[in-house]
Symmetry: C2
Subunit: 355 residues, 2 copies
C-alpha cells in the first residue's frame, strides 16, 4: 500500500459479484469488466471526492465535449498476482506521470497523485478475486479522463471525469505478427500530440491499418511524416530491432510514446550487457539488414502486448521474412519482464509495487 493514510474514497459495493459468470479461460481482451469502477469528477475547477461504485453506464449530454473535440487521454497498466496470492503493479508511477503529461498536452486538468493511487489500490483490493495467478493472466487497468462539459464550443472543457476500469486479461497477441512499413500515411506530426496517450492518436491509425490488413499485415510500423525514411513506433507498441547482437530503438520525441515497457527493456538489456543503440533508425538500414541477414529480430514492446515478436515486414511492395532465432532476445526479454512482474525473481530495479 502506497500511502499510510488514504484519502477518503466513497465506496458503494455491488450487492452481488458477477465474477461467477466469467469464463477466465476464454477472455477476449477488454470486453469483460470487473464489479466496480473508480470515478472522480472535475467541476468548478476542482476534482471532487473520488468514488468507487458498481461498474455501469455513464450518462452524458450529447454535447459533451469528448464527443466533439476529443479531449480524452488514457493509460494501460496491469496488476499481476504471484503464487502466494500477492498482487503487484509494474512501475505505476510511470503511468501516473504519463497520464498527467498527456492531459497537459490536451489542456485537461492534471489528476492528483494521492487520488490516483488511493483509488487504484482500493479498487484493486475490492477486485482481488478478479486477478488470477499464472503467467499471462493479469488484470488490465484502464485509467482514463474525458471532457464531459455539455456545450459544443471549440475550446477546452471545464468539466471532466477521471475513471479507472479493470478488465481481466490473458495474453494480448496470439502468435507473431507481420507488419507493413508506412510509406504514405502518418501517425503524428512534429509539434503534435504523438507522445501523448490521447484517444485521437488511435482513431487515426485504424484506416491505414485496415489497408495493411488487406495486404496480409496485422499492424503498421509508422515512419516520420516528413520523409517516411525513419522508423517511429507501431501505434500500440514501441519497436526494437536486433541487428546481429545490438538492439536498435528510436529515441523518444514529441511524436513517439515514451513507453514503460520500452524503457524497461532498455534498462534490462543494458544491465545484461546487451548493447542498445537509441538513435534515429532509417528504414533503408533495416531493409539492408534484412537483406544481408544481419537483422535477427524485430519486436514490439507495450503494456498490453508485453513483448510481441514480429516475423515479417513489408515495404515498397517487397516482403521480408525473418528467420526464427534459437536464442531470441524477444523471448528472453519477455521472460525477464514477466519474472519481475509476477514476483518470480528479485527486482533489482525497484519496479514492482505491491498493492
Amino acid at each position: 500500500m502506497r500511502n499510510a493514510i488514504r484519502q477518503a474514497v466513497d465506496i458503494t459495493k455491488v450487492s452481488e459479484s458477477k465474477i461467477g459468470q466469467v469464463d477466465f479461460n476464454n477472455l477476449n481482451f477488454g470486453k469483460v469488466f470487473t464489479d466496480h469502477m473508480f470515478v472522480c469528477d472535475y467541476v468548478n475547477g476542482e476534482w471532487q471526492t473520488p468514488k468507487i461504485v458498481p461498474y455501469g453506464p455513464l450518462t452524458l449530454d450529447p454535447s459533451a465535449r469528448v464527443f466533439h473535440y476529443g479531449q480524452a487521454v488514457f493509460e494501460g497498466m496491469k496488476a499481476y498476482k504471484d503464487d502466494h496470492g500477492d498482487t503487484f503493479l509494474f512501475r505505476p508511477d510511470e503511468n501516473f506521470k504519463r497520464i498527467n503529461k498527456s492531459s497537459e498536452r490536451l489542456a485537461m486538468p492534471e489528476f492528483p497523485e494521492s487520488y490516483f493511487f488511493d483509488g487504484l489500490n482500493t479498487l484493486l483490493e475490492l477486485e482481488n478475486d478478479w486477478i488470477k495467478p499464472g503467467f499471462g493472466n493479469s488484470l488490465y487497468i484502464r485509467p482514463f479522463s474525458i471532457a464531459t462539459q455539455a456545450s459544443v464550443s471549440a475550446s477546452e472543457a471545464d468539466e471532466y471525469k477521471f475513471m479507472i476500469i479493470c478488465s481481466p486479461a490473458q495474453s494480448y497477441y496470439s502468435g507473431d505478427v507481420s507488419v507493413l512499413i508506412a510509406e504514405e500515411f502518418s501517425r503524428s506530426a512534429n509539434g503534435g500530440i504523438g507522445y501523448a496517450k490521447a484517444a485521437g492518436n488511435y482513431a487515426a491509425q485504424f484506416y491505414p491499418t485496415n489497408l495493411a490488413k488487406k495486404q496480409g499485415y496485422q499492424q503498421i510500423i509508422w515512419t516520420d511524416a516528413d520523409t517516411h525514411q525513419y522508423i517511429e513506433e507501431a501505434g500500440t507498441m514501441n519497436l526494437f530491432f536486433r541487428v546481429n547482437d545490438t538492439l536498435l530503438t528510436a529515441p523518444i520525441s514529441d511524436r513517439i510514446l515514451d513507453g514503460v515497457t520500452r524503457k524497461s527493456l532498455i534498462t534490462i538489456a543494458e544491465k545484461e550487457g546487451i548493447h542498445v543503440d537509441v538513435r534515429p533508425i532509417k528504414v533503408s538500414e533495416i531493409v539492408d539488414a534484412a537483406t544481408n541477414g544481419s537483422l535477427k529480430e524485430i519486436f514490439g514492446a507495450g503494456t498490453a502486448a508485453v513483448v510481441s515478436p514480429i516475423k515479417a515486414f513489408g515495404y515498397k511492395g517487397e516482403h521480408y521474412e525473418l528467420t526464427p532465432q534459437e536464442n531470441s532476445y524477444a523471448a528472453h526479454f519477455k521472460k525477464a519482464l514477466l519474472d519481475i512482474q509476477y514476483n518470480k525473481v528479485e527486482d533489482p530495479f525497484g519496479w514492482r509495487v505491491k498493492v
Copy 2:
C-alpha cells in the same frame, strides 16, 4: 424538401417545449439545445431505423470506444430563416459528403444520404420555432458520429451512433481577433487526418492556443509541421490573405479542412473578378507584405464564424497590426454570403436549399 418520399423516421415528440425558457438575445454559442435530437444506431453492420426523440442524455458504457480510441467525427451547419418565415440550409450536400469522408478516414461506417437528409429535414420542421429570423440569427446544426462499442481493444468499433443536435446561435465571434503564427506546435501531419473533421484534431489545439492566449492572441495560424514556413489554417477557420487586391489562400491537402465557407468565398470572389491565388503561402511573404503595407486584410472563413476579420498577428516575437480598410473584402464577402444564406438576394450558385 429534398426527397419526395422520406424514409421512415420514428418520431417521439416532447410533451412540452422548453423554448419559453430560452433568452434568444443572450445565447452562448453551443450551450442551449432544441427540444429534439436525431439518433441512429449502427449495429450488426447496419444503420438501424433513424429516430427523433426528446433531447436528452446518452447512456454509454465506460469502455465505449469513443472515450478510448477517439473515433468521433462531426459537421457544423446552419439553418437560416428569411423574412417570410422560410428556412434554408447552405450547401448541405457538402457537409453530408464531408462527414462521410471524415468517417472513412477514421474507419467509421458512412451514413446513408437519405437517412441524413430525411432526418435533418424532419428535425428542422419540428424545431421551426427555434430558428429565428434576422441577420446573425441561425440554428447551428451539429451532426456527429461516435464509436459506442463497449470494449477497450484498440481497433475500429463495430457499433456507432450518428446524431444531429441543434443549438440556436447568434454570431460566433465578437470583434476582430489577433492570431499567433505557429513556430513550434503543429495541427496535423502529412498522411494524417488534418483534412477530416475529427474530434481529435481539435483537442490537440487547445494547449498551444492557451499559450498563445497568454501572449494576447485568441487563435493560432497553423503552419506545416515539417518546416513551419507555410501557412495552413486556423483550426476552426480556413484563412484568406488580401495582398493589395489579390486574395491568397492555401490549397486543400490531407492536412487542411476543405471548408465549405472557404470554397464558397473563392467562387464568389472569382465571379466578382477578384483574383484568388490558391497556392502554398509562405509565412515570410505575409510578414514582408505586412511590413511593406501591401497586406491589407486577413480573415478566417468557417461555418460557425462565417467570415472573421483578423486585425493583427504575431510571429517570432514581433507583432504586426493591420490597418483597417474602408472597403474591406471581409465585410463584403460576409455580407455577400449572408445575403445568399438569408434569401435576401438571388442565389446564382444554387447553394441555398429550402427545408
